[in-house]
């Protein structure tokens, strides 16, 4: 009897708990949207020395959220897992210097582009090899694994007459470590990162790839058309606002 009633109370509590969780779950998810940002992609998205998400994209999204009436939480993620995280509902969108590419558009939807970057080749200041010769004389070219610069190099290597070796790194930072000691002859990257890399270092841009400039866009799940519209509208508002110029100056873009 005593045992039975205890189970009754326990069961009731459990049922109440489950009910609370099922009811509160989606409702609470609707209020706060989670933006996934790359651990380390300054000045677009990064985590500052205090551990807070920061950067151009973080500021932009905060402004958009305020205008469009939603709250946002910025969740730092490792780059390799960022699209899987989006498509498994860990995060709701990605605003972290992500290039709009055909490959990615197969699995996610992108907003309108808000920033343009070209693909460049960075080398030691003393490097004598020209941009064209880099790809035909058996040189080693570093690149961050999984980026669209990586895809670009892979495609380029397939062209006739090409002779170079792709060395893939976990980050562009790591490839840069290998430049001065000569393990690689050049490193391919976005023009936005190249500018960061050249600050205070003996590097130069050897040349720019002859491909259309990439646009950075925010990525959302295929099914989230409503969110896509909200973000697009927010982006358009932001880019028309004086704050946009201010933001670009703050993060030394352009």
């Amino acid at each position: 009897m005593a045992k039975g009633s205890r189970f009754g109370v326990l069961g009731g509590l459990l049922a109440a708990l489950v009910l609370c969780l099922t009811l509160s779950g989606p409702a609470w998810a609707e209020k706060t949207l989670v933006n996934g940002i790359d651990f380390g992609f300054p000045p677009f998205g990064f985590v500052d020395t205090q551990g807070n998400p920061a950067g151009f994209d973080v500021d932009s999204v905060n402004w958009i959220a305020e205008q469009m009436g939603f709250t946002v939480r910025h969740q730092p993620m490792d780059w390799d897992g960022i699209i899987p995280a989006l498509n498994t509902n860990r995060i709701d969108f990605i605003a972290s210097g992500m290039s709009i590419t055909e490959e990615r558009m197969k699995v996610v939807n992108f907003t309108i582009p808000y920033y343009e970057v070209t693909q460049v080749l960075v080398a030691n200041e003393t490097e004598a090899t020209s941009f064209e010769e880099m790809f035909t004389t058996g040189k080693k070219i570093g690149v961050q694994r999984g980026t669209n610069t990586h895809t670009l190099l892979i495609d380029k290597a397939k062209e006739p007459g090409m002779d170079f070796e792709i060395v893939a790194y976990d980050s562009t930072d790591l490839s840069i470590q290998d430049l001065p000691i000569g393990r690689i002859h050049a490193s391919a990257m976005d023009s936005s990162i190249a500018r960061e890399m050249k600050k205070g270092r003996a590097f130069k841009t050897v040349g720019t790839f002859d491909v259309p400039a990439d646009g950075y866009g925010y990525a959302v799940r295929k099914a989230d058309t409503e969110l896509l519209n909200t973000l697009n509208e927010g982006l358009k508002k932001l880019m028309a606002d004086p704050y946009w110029v201010e933001l670009k100056q703050k993060w030394e873009l352009e």
Partner: protein
């Protein structure tokens, strides 16, 4: 390397980096404890179980020792947990937590390794002890609980402290799914300066200190629980 640029960033970010120690240690101690709870029955099952139990335990150990932790983390976090959190009943339970995924993966893997440590210890005990226990009228369960395990667990401590240092280093892989432990935090700060090396050094020093302190603590434990006159202590380490 530009130390004038790195030092202020390192200094400013030190509290943030050190904050990762809590996450790392929670992961490691959590996984050791959960691995212990699962590892003991696995070991007992492998030594004393029926043919089916032995085979099942064997498959478990084979599976978790055979798949790299990084692969397991990806499969579990982006695969199994993501699938489970689709059900409305489960979606509120915090299943989207990367920390939970890392803890589960490390625990399950550690259980597989720990079970092998315990199995070795159990098998190193003289078989006559079980016979003697039966002669005293004990059931097999009683004998395992009160005679085999107290000795086997003591013998397992050196192997167990080895497992601690392995787990500590494996926990650094949790950065891949976004757990902000030591590794993730140092990588994050390194990206601010575009100088990965000094911060890799910081991570290395932190992991070294934690390994050293943990192994020393377990050595002390080993001494404390030693049975005086029990001769086989040294032979396992």
């Amino acid at each position: 390397m530009d130390f004038a640029k790195i030092m202020p960033v390192l200094w400013e970010s030190l509290p943030f980096i050190l904050g990762g120690i809590t996450w790392t240690l929670t992961l490691v101690f959590g996984a050791m404890l959960l691995g212990l709870c699962l590892g003991i029955p696995l070991a007992v099952g492998q030594v004393y179980g029926s043919k089916t139990v032995r085979r099942l335990a064997g498959i478990y150990v084979w599976l978790f020792r055979g798949v790299p932790i990084l692969v397991q983390l990806y499969l579990f976090y982006f695969g199994i947990l993501a699938y489970l959190s689709r059900f409305p009943l489960l979606s509120g339970l915090g299943l989207d937590s990367a920390f939970l995924a890392a803890l589960v993966v490390l625990s399950l893997t550690s259980a597989a390794y720990q079970s092998q440590i315990f199995r070795g210890s159990i098998q190193s005990l003289p078989e006559g002890q079980l016979k003697a226990a039966r002669a005293l009228g004990m059931t097999d369960g009683q004998a395992i609980r009160s005679i085999v395990l107290p000795q086997a667990l003591r013998l397992s401590i050196p192997g167990w402290s080895n497992e601690y240092s392995i787990l500590l280093k494996d926990s650094a892989l949790a950065f891949a799914i976004g757990v902000m432990e030591i590794m993730a935090r140092t990588r994050t700060v390194a990206a601010l300066t575009h100088e990965p090396l000094p911060f890799a050094l910081v991570a290395g020093v932190l992991f070294y200190i934690l390994t050293h302190l943990g192994v020393r603590a377990l050595k002390t434990l080993e001494r404390k629980v030693r049975i005086p006159g029990y001769a086989r202590q040294g032979s396992m380490s």
